[in-house]
Symmetry: C2
Subunit: 538 residues, 2 copies
C-alpha cells in the first residue's frame, strides 16, 4: 500500500471527506459563515525550510532535504496546523533519520551525543500536543521509526507479540490477524500512529474497556537510552520493586528510544457489535453509563455523547429524512430534545457471549430510560471510527478550526467538568468576538470515573496572528478549567509541549522534581526530546 501523507493536514492525501450541506448550514447559523484563509503552498513552505539550513554534520543515515525535514517537523496540534496552513513554519528539524534496526538507533544516539545533537523520536506524527516541535539551541535530529515495523516473535501460548516499535496500527493488526490474534488497541489515530508512540504517550484505544489501555498491554521491551541498551523482561506480574515499564510509559522520548515492545495479544473476537442507545437526557445517560461501567459486564466500549454532541452528530450526518423518522420514533419513546446517544460495544469469543452481555447491559440502560436503536448507528460509527478525523480537513477548507481537549476525572466531578470545559471554550472565543460550537462525549468509562472529551469548532481567523491568538485563548482557558475542576491534563493525548505547563498541578513540585531527576539519570547530557513532558523549551 503506497499512500502519500497530506503535508499540511490529516491523513492520506487522496482521501477527501465532504462537509455535508446540512453541516455547512448548521455551522453558518451557529457560529457564523466560515472565512477560509488561503493556504500557504507546499513550495512556499519548502522555501522556508531552505531558509533554515541544516546545522547537522553529515551522516550516512541522516536526510537533510527540505521536504523530508518539513514533513518531520509537525504533528497534528492546532499550533502545527496554523503554522503549516498560514506558512509561518517557525523552527523545523535539522534532519531526519529512518533507522531500520536497533543497531542503527544505537549508532545514531552515540553520534548525536558526540556531536551535541538533540534527538527527537517520532512515530506516526499524530501528536496533538506539540511533541514534534524542535526546541532549544542545539541542532535537532528527528528519528522517524516507521521503518521498524516487523513482528519479531509471536508466542501463542503466553499470548505475547514482540514488535519493532515503529509499526503503525494497521500493519500491527495485519501481522497479528495472520495468526488469529489482535491487540485491540484502536485510538482514533490508529491508521497512522505507532506502537512505540502509544507506549511513550500512554495511549488509550476506543475499546480499552475490554483490551486495556496501552499500560496494560505493554509487557516489556527494549529501549536505547542515550548511553546504552536496556531490556525490560516480560512477566505476567511482579512484586519486585518499582515496575520499570511504568517509567517508559509516558516518558515521551525523554529517556531514550523504544525500539522493541512486547504486547499482550488476544484471540481475535468471533462476535462484535456496537449498539446505539438514546437516553432522554444527560442526567439519565450519565447515571446509566456509570452503572454500566461499575457492573463488570465485560463491555468493550461505552461512549456517551452529551445533548450538544448528539444533536451535532444527527445534524451533520446528512440523511435528513431518515433522521427525522428516527427522531420521531425516539420522541415517542421518551427521548426528545436534550437526548443523549450512547454507543455500547460488545465483543466476545462467541455470539452467545455477546448476546448475554447485551442482555445484562440492556437491563441497566432500560432502568434509566435508554432506548436501543440496534446496530444501525453503531455499524455506521464503527465504519467511520478512523474516518471522522478527516472532517478536520473539510472544516478547515470551509473556514472552521476544530480542536479537542480531553481529561479524566472521578464520577462526582464529571458533570461539572463537562460544563466547565464548554463554558471555558465559549468564553475564550467570545473574548475575540467569536462564537464557538462545543460538544462533549465521555469516550472511556471506568468504575472510578470517566474521560471527558470536548470538541470546539470556531472560525479560524483571518491571519496567523489572529488565528494563533484565538487558539491560545481556547487552549489556555480549557486547560485551566480542567485543572481547576480536578481533572488530569490529559487522558489520552499525552503532555508534549502544549500541556506541559499544567503538569505540576497534578504531579506536585515533588513529583515534577522526581520526573526531572529520572530524565537526568537516563539522559545526563540532555540529548533527548527536549521540551516534551517537562516544558524545558528554552
Amino acid at each position: 500500500m503506497t499512500t502519500e501523507r497530506r503535508w499540511n493536514g490529516w491523513g492520506d492525501a487522496s482521501v477527501h471527506e465532504e462537509l455535508k450541506p446540512e453541516a455547512r448550514a448548521f455551522l453558518a447559523q451557529a457560529i457564523g459563515e466560515g472565512q477560509p484563509p488561503s493556504d500557504a503552498t507546499f513550495a512556499a513552505a519548502l522555501a522556508q525550510v531552505d531558509a533554515q539550513p541544516s546545522r547537522l554534520p553529515p551522516h550516512p543515515l541522516v536526510d537533510t532535504r527540505a521536504e523530508t525535514r518539513l514533513r518531520a517537523s509537525f504533528g497534528q496540534s492546532m499550533h502545527d496546523w496554523l503554522r503549516l496552513r498560514f506558512g509561518v513554519l517557525g523552527r523545523v528539524t535539522d534532519g531526519v533519520a529512518f533507522p531500520s534496526s536497533s543497531a542503527e538507533v544505537r549508532a545514531l544516539l552515540t553520534w548525536a551525543r558526540e556531536q551535541g545533537v538533540q534527538v527527537l523520536p517520532s512515530g506516526g506524527a499524530t501528536s496533538v500536543a506539540g511533541h514534534l516541535t524542535p526546541v532549544g539551541a542545539a541542532p535537532v535530529l528527528t528519528l522517524n521509526m516507521g521503518r521498524m515495523m516487523r513482528l519479531l516473535d509471536l508466542d501463542p501460548v503466553a499470548q505475547l507479540a514482540r514488535f519493532e516499535a515503529g509499526v503503525a496500527g494497521p500493519d500491527l493488526e495485519a501481522q497479528l490477524r495472520a495468526h488469529g490474534f489482535t491487540l485491540g488497541h484502536f485510538p482514533q489515530s490508529f491508521e497512522l500512529s505507532t506502537l512505540g508512540g502509544w507506549v511513550v504517550t500512554r495511549s488509550s484505544g476506543q475499546q480499552s474497556a475490554r483490551y486495556g489501555r496501552i499500560e496494560q498491554l505493554f509487557a516489556g521491551g527494549t529501549l536505547q537510552t542515550p548511553e546504552r541498551e536496556w531490556t525490560l523482561p516480560t512477566f505476567p506480574a511482579s512484586a519486585a520493586g518499582p515496575d520499570l515499564r511504568e517509567w517508559v510509559l509516558g516518558s515521551e522520548g525523554r529517556i531514550g528510544v523504544l525500539t522493541e515492545a512486547s504486547v499482550r495479544v488476544t484471540r481475535a473476537p468471533v462476535a462484535e457489535r456496537f449498539v446505539g442507545i438514546f437516553f432522554p437526557d444527560w442526567a439519565s445517560g450519565l447515571a446509566a453509563v456509570r452503572r454500566l461501567g461499575q457492573a463488570r459486564l465485560g463491555l468493550s466500549m461505552l461512549r456517551l455523547a452529551n445533548p450538544a454532541e448528539t444533536f451535532t452528530t444527527l445534524q451533520m450526518a446528512g440523511h435528513a429524512g431518515a433522521i427525522r423518522w428516527l427522531e420521531r420514533y425516539l420522541s415517542l419513546n421518551g427521548a426528545g430534545e436534550g437526548k443523549c446517544l450512547l454507543f455500547a460495544g460488545f465483543t466476545g469469543a462467541s455470539a452467545g457471549a455477546v448476546r448475554s452481555m447485551q442482555r445484562a447491559a440492556a437491563a441497566i440502560w432500560q432502568e434509566h430510560g435508554g432506548v436501543s436503536t440496534g446496530t444501525v448507528l453503531g455499524r455506521k460509527w464503527a465504519q467511520r471510527r478512523f474516518a471522522n478525523v478527516y472532517l478536520r480537513n473539510a472544516l478547515w477548507d470551509a473556514g472552521y478550526a476544530v480542536d479537542t481537549m480531553e481529561t479524566a476525572c472521578d464520577w462526582p466531578r464529571v458533570d461539572a467538568m463537562v460544563h466547565a470545559l464548554e463554558t471555558a471554550g465559549r468564553g475564550a472565543l467570545a473574548r475575540h468576538g467569536e462564537r464557538t460550537h462545543c460538544y462533549t462525549h465521555l469516550s472511556h468509562v471506568y468504575a472510578q470515573g470517566s474521560s471527558v472529551y470536548s470538541t470546539f469548532v470556531y472560525r479560524i481567523g483571518a491571519d496567523y496572528d489572529s488565528a494563533l491568538a484565538r487558539w491560545q485563548s481556547l487552549k489556555t482557558a480549557v486547560g485551566d478549567a480542567i485543572v481547576a475542576q480536578g481533572g488530569t491534563i490529559t487522558h489520552q493525548h499525552g503532555v508534549g509541549k502544549d500541556h506541559a505547563r499544567w503538569l505540576a498541578a497534578e504531579k506536585g513540585a515533588t513529583g515534577m522534581s522526581a520526573i526531572a531527576a529520572m530524565v537526568r539519570e537516563f539522559d545526563p547530557q540532555g540529548v533527548m526530546a527536549r521540551g516534551n513532558l517537562l516544558g524545558d523549551i528554552e
Copy 2:
C-alpha cells in the same frame, strides 16, 4: 477485639493449629522424624535487647522499652524465625513510634533527619523478605503505623475509599462492609498485614483475578517523604507522563511513609463459591488453567496444586475415611495417582451471574478431564484461607521448618519453573544430608503466565548455625533457579533484604541505577528504610 501477637511465630498467641497425626506420620516417613529445638524464652530474648541499649535521643513519641523494640524488629522471614527461636537476635531496632496522624509522622521524620536516625516504616510486620531488620551504622527508629487505621472518606459514586494507611485487612473490610463495599484484597497475611504495607510491597490478594492486584486498587494517596508531604490525586486514568503511583508501589519504605491511601472499592458481592476440581495429571491441569486464564470469564480465583501439593493437602487433611471415598470416586473418573486439585473462585453480583460463569468454566475444564467435586473442598479452603499459616507454628513445634518461595513467569516457562524450584530446594538440603518435602501451586493465573509458589518442608537443624546454613542454602538455590528460569524474584512477597541480590537480574544495571537515583531524589540524606529493595545493608 484484643489479641496478643505471638512474639516468635505467626499470628494470634491464643490460636493453636494442631498438626494431625496423619501429617506427622507422613512427614516422619517422607523427610525423617522431626527434632524440635528448644525455643529461647521471652525473658532471654528481652535480655538480649537490653544488652543493646537504644541509641536514640529521647522523644515523646518514641518508645524504647525492650519488649516494644523486640516485637518491632522481626517479620516472618525464616531468618527472623531462626533468630527468635534460637535466641540469636542480632541487631534490633533502637525504638518504636506509633504515630496517630500524618502530622506526627511528619514530625518524626523531621526529627529523624536532624538526629541522623534511620526510619523504618512498618505495617503488620508480616514481611517474609526481611523488610524489618535494622541495618547500617545509624540508630534505627521503627514507625509502627498500626494506629492509623481510620476510614477517612468513602465516595460511593466514584467507589473510592480513603484510609489511613496503617489499617489492617479485617479492620479495613469491616469499615467498608458497614457501607456495603469491599476492597476484595485477601493476601494470606490478610489478618495482620496493612493497606500501606500492601501498597509499598505490591501485594496480591487471593482473588486478584477479580479485584486486581494492589497496583490496580491503589488510586492515590499521601506520602510523607523525608523532606515534605506529597499528595497523589485520584484519576480513573491519565496520559499525563509517568504514573507516579507506580513510584510509590514497590518503594518498600525507601522514598517516604505512605500515610493515606485511596483505594478502588466494589459493592460487596452477592454470591460467591469456590469449587474444587481434580485433573488426571499436571499437564491437563496446566492446560486447563491457562485456557481458563485466557478466556476472560471474570473468575475471581484460579489456584492449581501440583500432584505433590494435592497429595499433601489430602494427606494432611485428616478425615482419612472421607478422603478414601473421595479418592475412589476420583479414580473412577480418571483422576488417580498424579491428580491435581484446582480451586476456582466464582464471585458476582447475583447467583445467576455466578452460575453462568461456572457453566462457561466447566465447559473448559471438562475438555481437559477436570472432575468437579462441588463446593465442599472449596468451602473448607475458604474457611481456612488465613488459618493455614498457623501450621508453621505447629510444624516448628514438631521439629520442621517450612518456607515458601514464589515467582511469576510467562506460560512457556511455568512447567520447567516448577520442576526447577523443587529440584533446587531438594538439592540444597541434600547437601546438608537432609530430605525436603516440596510441593507447588500456581496461586495467581494470568493470560500471559502464572505465579509459581513452592513450599519446602525440612528438618530445622539442631542449632542456630546449622539451621541458618540449611535455610541459606535453600534460599540461595531456589532464588538462583528462579532467575535462571526467567522468573521475577517475587510475585507477591516483595524484595526486602532477602531478595535484593537477585533484583538486578531483572531490572538490569540501568534499572538498578534508576531506582537508586529515585531513592536519592526523594531521600538525599538516606534516612529511609536502608537495605530494603537495594540491599545497601552495610
